[in-house]
Symmetry: C2
Subunit: 418 residues, 2 copies
């Protein structure tokens, strides 16, 4: 472990900026080496990591942290192994840098191209999970960025030891130690200063709950990408294969209810509601159903939904259910209540599928598939740093490309403008 005390954001930022210039001209094999060495170090130092983490957990427990927080904070051998494996997976991905995105020759002979380059310095502000420390580092470094990390106070010691090992991996691969900076101070003021570090942070990626996202919107002056709520819908159309619809609805709701791409509201076409709703209600045993009037009439166990239910991301085995007159009814409901994350239709009607994919304004629209597939690995991006619900820069699962920018390169032989 490399020893390090609290360092100011200004100093960390200056080191990160300087390091980002070196990273921008580093080779991908050098960056991949750093990731693999860091992975080895995490594994070889697992006892030390777990010992320090046990201290953080004990302190948090004494401070009255909830079981959920404690679970997120706690590491074990498997979790550390997963962190190391994650770094190796990222090392194995294709280098996103240097790709020519577009290019052409102008009438005056200027050769114009747009080339993928690093963002520079990426800031990550996150909550309890210490695995974010190495996951975020891995993706940022792979994409040629220096990274500044600001985790929660409860995980300070754990994050500190992890960052020490990551730094060791970076320096052993011949890259500057400043490529990874850790703000070893977790006050509210330090979070706000982090969000306002214009000129230091090129892109901020907050990883956390609604309170963190709201704070970023309120305070940030640096550019950021928001990983927002997922109030996701599945619309079962009149023409749906009901067995397929049942399977997708059950999967979207129950396979992992606590995540952002789980379904929160089921919309059912009126013509099939009498057949489908009782059937799917049985299949959703253990899920609390909150329905509109028609649903409650068809499903004895359902309770009446309120207006608030349509807008709620439960992240729990609770499902809002509404019967709509037609596709337009479903589109209107989603336009009004959806959070722009993931929206699915189950249908065998090409025209309905086409309208749904064309008109639903969300990061991901799915036809005849579970919303749970909206994830960087499942969609084939290799890894993800989050799922953007904003429309700028990156939308939906953010892989390595979301951690890059482009640069215009213009080559001439003396052209001047007339």
């Amino acid at each position: 472990m490399v020893a390090h005390g609290p360092v100011s954001l200004d100093d960390l930022g200056a080191a990160a900026r300087e390091s980002s210039r070196v990273l921008a001209r580093s080779s991908s094999s050098q960056r991949d080496d750093a990731l693999r060495v860091a992975a080895d170090l995490l594994e070889s130092q697992v006892e030390q990591i777990l010992a320090v983490n046990a201290g953080d957990v004990a302190t948090a427990e004494a401070d009255g942290a909830t079981p959920t927080v404690l679970d997120r904070l706690r590491l074990d051998g498997n979790r550390v192994a997963a962190m190391a494996a994650g770094l190796r997976t990222v090392a194995g991905l294709a280098d996103p840098l240097g790709r020519v995105v577009a290019g052409w020759v102008r009438p005056n002979g200027l050769r114009v191209s747009q080339v993928r380059v690093p963002l520079g310095v990426v800031g990550i502000i996150y909550e309890n999970r210490p695995n974010v420390t190495s996951d975020a580092f891995g993706l940022c470094l792979k994409a040629g960025n220096a990274v500044l990390l600001r985790g929660s106070s409860s995980a300070l010691a754990t994050n500190g030891v992890i960052v020490g090992l990551l730094k060791e991996g970076v320096t052993k691969a011949g890259l500057p130690a400043g490529s990874v900076g850790f703000l070893a101070e977790a006050s509210h003021e330090s979070a706000v200063a982090f969000m306002r570090a214009t000129g230091t942070i090129d892109c901020l990626v907050p990883r956390g709950g609604p309170a963190l996202i709201a704070a970023v919107r309120e305070h940030a002056t640096v550019p950021y990408v928001i990983d927002g709520d997922g109030n996701c819908h599945v619309f079962v159309d009149a023409s749906a294969d009901l067995a397929m619809a049942e399977s997708i609805v059950v999967n979207a709701k129950t396979q992992r209810p606590g995540v952002c791409n789980a379904m929160e509201t089921l919309l059912v076409h009126r013509s099939i509601a009498p057949t489908f709703l009782p059937r799917v209600a049985t299949a959703l045993e253990g899920v609390e159903l909150r329905g509109d009037e028609t649903t409650c009439a068809l499903v004895p166990g359902a309770v009446a939904a309120t207006e608030a239910d349509w807008a709620t991301e439960y992240l729990a085995p609770v499902l809002a259910v509404r019967v709509v007159d037609d596709l337009d009814g479903a589109l209107d409901h989603i336009a009004r209540y959806g959070s722009g994350h993931s929206e699915a239709i189950v249908t065998s009607d090409v025209a309905a599928a086409d309208r749904f994919t064309a008109e639903v304004d969300a990061a991901a629209v799915l036809v005849n598939a579970s919303t749970r597939f909206v994830d960087g690995e499942e969609l084939g991006l290799g890894a993800e740093i989050g799922i953007s619900t904003q429309k700028l820069h990156a939308r939906g699962p953010m892989g390595l490309e979301a951690l890059t920018s482009v640069r215009w390169v213009v080559r001439g032989d003396g052209q001047v403008r007339r």
Copy 2:
């Protein structure tokens, strides 16, 4: 002219949101028709526009506006004709929507694609120039977006009459009037409310000076793209063709000194400074030179530069000049003082050109060409809504693509996640 009184931002926003759903499913020929009809209306109503504008100009003059402000505010027949021509040019560009950016099939059979879609509602906040009203409208509508416009108080009446004609063009083409919304109120409070209209504005594009940009950074909670300063450099390397270097330097400084892609600092390799500097100083007659010690020794007319000169965007016939020891000296100077806009090298050395394009962190890097080419039309984007100096979403000249987002479309046949 369509009559309209002040409407609240909430009402304008709701109409824009509703209209954006219609625009998202409109055909490009419908949107192009709207642009062409609007262009015809601007031309046919030029007398009315100029009469209203004369009133705005007289009021501003009575209020003590500077000649620069008055010039920006004032329209004439040529300026209105240019606005109409701009709309027709945009109508003739290729539709950016519906393009498949990427796509593949997953091992489980899911067909994944990433499709270009509109942003939704674009907010434009701008200063005196009334031509921005139609220019911004044209680009936003072409890219399938509704647009909310908030101009300056000095141009309220002029912008009102222009927006009325644009609305008429939109409705005549069968698109909703809410596709263009105009905030007919120009208080500071209304500007701040505009910047904080989360859920109403999907992307804010400020068009104005440093004070406006600073206000956006401070207050905005909606996503935005910054059109920032251009402290641009030209580095004349040891191996440069000196005639080419002279021509590029003169063009980059003098062809139009008041714009963001004009050169502000000239960097010269020490080995050629004694030959090149006196020569280029003669060619730059009428430009005030502020040089480092070596420059002042070589160029009798140069005055001593201060630290502030290296960081200043003059936007005037003033040039800072510094002699550097080598390419590294130029790279260090640019890394320290550059604003990330446009940076050029004049060289005949391939290795120097390659290092410069790889290592300079700017929206555009140029080899043997004038910085003045960094412009949407000059680079071949057809038109531009601004030049982004941030690294997220869009960097450098922003054409139609910068006014779009992407959506993931996932098609399956019943896939669920295991």
